[in-house]
């Protein structure tokens, strides 16, 4: 029980009260923590058919099981809820220090429910939780919010050791594209969570803790940290590319292999000068890391006390999908998204969709074209959720559907497709179609095998191999999320490299198959939730552009792969988990829940 704190806090915003409850060890062993624990707690508490912005909807924040143990690269906490953007269960990953601090404050998870009358901030420290009014924080950008909270603490040492998860104006105004920001870092995934914070009138959560996390064999854990450090220093990805360029190194590889889309996926990108790995390297002089990560891949430049981050998503999104050609401008747009609390990927992709519709003359409200420099204005409008911004703030799928051209939005389940070309990366296409939280890459990052070939050689255009690969990677990511690991550790490590640390921590042996089973259980539980929420095989689709419009002679053979994928997962032809797989995973109760 030592690695886990065995406790969670239930915070009721309506009654401004909280309750601390225990988490049984049997539950923690099966769902670990992070996304696993989050999905389980959420599933058990919320009716899948709920309107995400309803006050009865809840938010579960769960720290990864290995957060705060010193495990290299494990610091992520997951925010699990039903997103108003996708209407599916979704999981946002908090980078930085928030997850570990949750552990040090004595909790594995926090459940937030109800709705406050006025904006409030939750303070959590050493088992003490207080909910304070925050009227003056209304419509403040995230950097200002963090600054104001630190001033309000009125204790510089406390301020240095408190970590904040906050929502920007976009979330307060309930834009579907809104997400959360922690310590200046946007959440990975989880577009829409910001709107739920807004609906609950929750402006921020401040956390600070000083409790111990106890591991079983500390000396061996320490040795394992040294061993893994050497391992990270032998892979060029974690030794050179990620530290020097960040995940933007993928730009060079994608440009080289012609898997980088341009102009709303209309074509594959031609290199724009400076919008590549070297461009990022030159623009960002500094880097930072999440808690206990030896890689340190978050690149930024400091300008008048502002941290301007640059990464693959912003460069490929604003740069290539929207056609913005200068790196300074992209960094500014990304900064604006962080300030307003907007998901970069979905914002960029939605604007790219609007640009195409406007160029075709279908969208008449605004005049936009690829490369339009005035998208800054549109992003600000999204933040306010007013005027034309309100149309876009609902998400690209809504915009395209309203204009009768739903095929113009490059997304699945209303969530934008990350800028990797599914017509060249078929496994990735299959993952996007089947992803439980709408199109998103970090819960099935097949890129590491299909594009980089880190652990296995994958034939690019052999669709028969893809379903098994996709299933394996989706399950791997689910268990990594549950443990709190970042996906980029896979660029240097295999899953079996983390087994020793797991053993020294928990004092139990585990093998890879058992870990993958844990992942599979999480994946299936999410799937059952979505089916109950009314999202089914009809939504496992890709935009027509990828399945019908050929790019250099290729389309994504989704239909052929999908049926094999369902079989591979033990699902029926309608994509529903069959009885025997549910029995094997111990999820039978979950499926039967609410049936009476």
């Amino acid at each position: 029980m030592e690695v886990w704190k065995g406790q969670f806090a239930r915070i009721d915003l309506t009654h401004k009260s909280f309750k601390i409850d225990t988490l049984p060890e049997s539950l923690l062993k099966v769902y670990l923590g992070g996304r696993g624990l989050g999905v389980k707690l959420y599933f058990d508490e919320v009716n899948p058919e709920i309107d995400p912005l309803d006050e009865n909807n809840k938010i579960v924040i769960a720290a990864g099981a290995l957060c705060g143990t010193g495990a290299s690269g494990a610091s992520m906490a997951s925010v699990v809820t039903k997103s108003p953007l996708t209407n599916t269960i979704c999981c946002g990953r908090i980078r930085g220090y928030f997850g570990t601090e949750l552990k040090f404050a004595g909790f594995d998870a926090v459940i937030i429910e109800g709705k406050a009358e006025h904006p409030v901030i939750i303070f959590i420290s050493h088992q003490r939780i207080s909910i304070k009014p925050a009227l003056e924080y209304g419509q403040q950008v995230t950097s200002k919010t963090e600054k104001m909270i630190k001033e309000e603490l009125n204790d510089r040492w406390k301020a240095l050791e408190s970590f904040i998860l906050s929502v920007g104006p976009a979330g307060e105004n309930k834009a579907n594209l809104a997400t959360l920001v922690s310590d200046g870092l946007l959440l990975d995934g989880g577009a829409g969570i910001g709107a739920i914070f807004g609906a609950k009138n929750l402006k921020a959560i401040v956390i600070s803790g000083s409790q111990d996390v106890t591991v079983n064999q500390g000396e061996k854990c320490l040795q394992s940290i040294f061993t893994l450090k050497n391992k990270f220093n032998t892979s060029p990805y974690t030794k050179e590319y990620l530290p020097n360029i960040g995940n933007g190194f993928l730009l060079d590889i994608c440009l080289d292999k012609k898997t980088l889309p341009a102009n709303n996926f209309k074509s594959s990108a031609q290199k724009i000068p400076n919008l590549d790995g070297d461009g990022i390297k030159n623009f960002t002089q500094r880097r930072r890391a999440c808690f206990s990560c030896p890689i340190g891949c978050i690149r930024f430049s400091l300008e008048k006390q502002r941290m301007l981050y640059l990464d693959y998503e912003s460069m490929a999104g604003f740069g290539y999908l929207c056609g913005i050609k200068t790196i300074d401008k992209i960094a500014e747009l990304r900064y604006l998204c962080t300030e307003l609390g907007l998901d970069v990927l979905n914002t960029a992709s939605t604007i790219a969709c609007a640009m195409e519709l406007s160029e075709e003359g279908i969208l008449k409200d605004v005049s936009l074209s690829f490369g339009s420099e005035d998208i800054e204005k549109i992003i600000k409008q999204i933040g306010k959720n007013k005027g034309f911004g309100a149309e876009i703030a609902k998400g690209g799928a809504h915009l395209a559907k309203a204009l009768n051209r739903p095929d113009r939005f490059m997304g699945v389940k209303n969530s934008a497709i990350p800028p990797f070309e599914p017509r060249k990366l078929w496994g990735f296409g299959l993952h996007l179609a089947t992803s439980n939280s709408g199109a998103y890459h970090l819960n099935g990052f097949t890129i590491i095998e299909e594009l980089l070939g880190i652990h296995q050689v994958v034939e690019p255009f052999k669709y028969q191999d893809k379903p098994a690969l996709v299933k394996q990677i989706q399950d791997t990511m689910a268990v990594l999320d549950a443990l709190g690991y970042c996906v980029y550790i896979l660029l240097a490590l295999k899953l079996n490299n983390i087994l020793p640390f797991y053993k020294f921590c928990f004092n139990t042996e585990v093998n890879i198959q058992e870990l993958l089973n844990l992942g599979e259980r999480i994946w299936n539980l999410e799937r059952i939730f979505n089916i109950k929420a009314g999202i089914d095989y009809n939504d496992d689709v890709l935009p027509k552009r990828f399945t019908q419009e050929a790019l250099e002679g290729n389309v994504c053979p989704l239909d052929q792969m999908l049926s094999v994928y369902y079989q591979e997962r033990g699902w029926d032809k309608w994509g529903k988990p069959k009885e025997d797989i549910l029995n094997r995973l111990g999820l039978k109760d979950a499926k039967d829940k609410d049936r009476s």
Binding site: G70, Q211, N216, G218, I225, K229, A289, S292, P294
Partner: protein
């Protein structure tokens, strides 16, 4: 004579040194507040500070130093814990902490853990 060289330009703020330090000094326990090295974020830079001697008298003179990392309150990068600086003491017992170089000869765990090159053990002669 050996010294730990600190380079804030290289520090990524991963704080794995803190975790490793606490694991080394208290069996099986991970808690940054038990660490004898702390990393503070100042002006967008991460500055590692190693615990020095406890002093029971707080300074009267408050000063700010002008560094390449901007203006920094000396108090933040001061290595002592004092009645005004609640850092470098055990949260449960209030016991004051001080870096012990991980024994003799020096074999500092924080340096061994650091992957950014911000901490380095060097030979130093004046």
């Amino acid at each position: 004579m050996q010294r730990i060289k600190i380079d804030p330009n290289k520090c990524t703020g991963c704080r794995q040194c803190e975790l490793a330090c606490s694991l080394k000094h208290k069996e099986n326990t991970v808690n940054p507040r038990r660490a004898r090295i702390r990393v503070f974020r100042v002006n967008g830079y991460f500055i590692p500070v190693i615990a020095g001697q406890y002093t029971d008298a707080a300074c009267n003179t408050k000063c700010v130093v002008d560094t390449q990392w901007g203006l920094i309150d000396l108090c933040v990068i001061c290595r002592a814990s004092c009645p005004q600086k609640p850092v470098f003491y055990e949260p449960d017992t209030g016991f004051h902490l001080k870096c012990d170089f991980c024994g003799t000869p020096p074999n500092p765990t924080c340096v061994k853990t650091c992957n950014s090159g911000a901490l380095e053990l060097i030979e130093w002669s004046e």
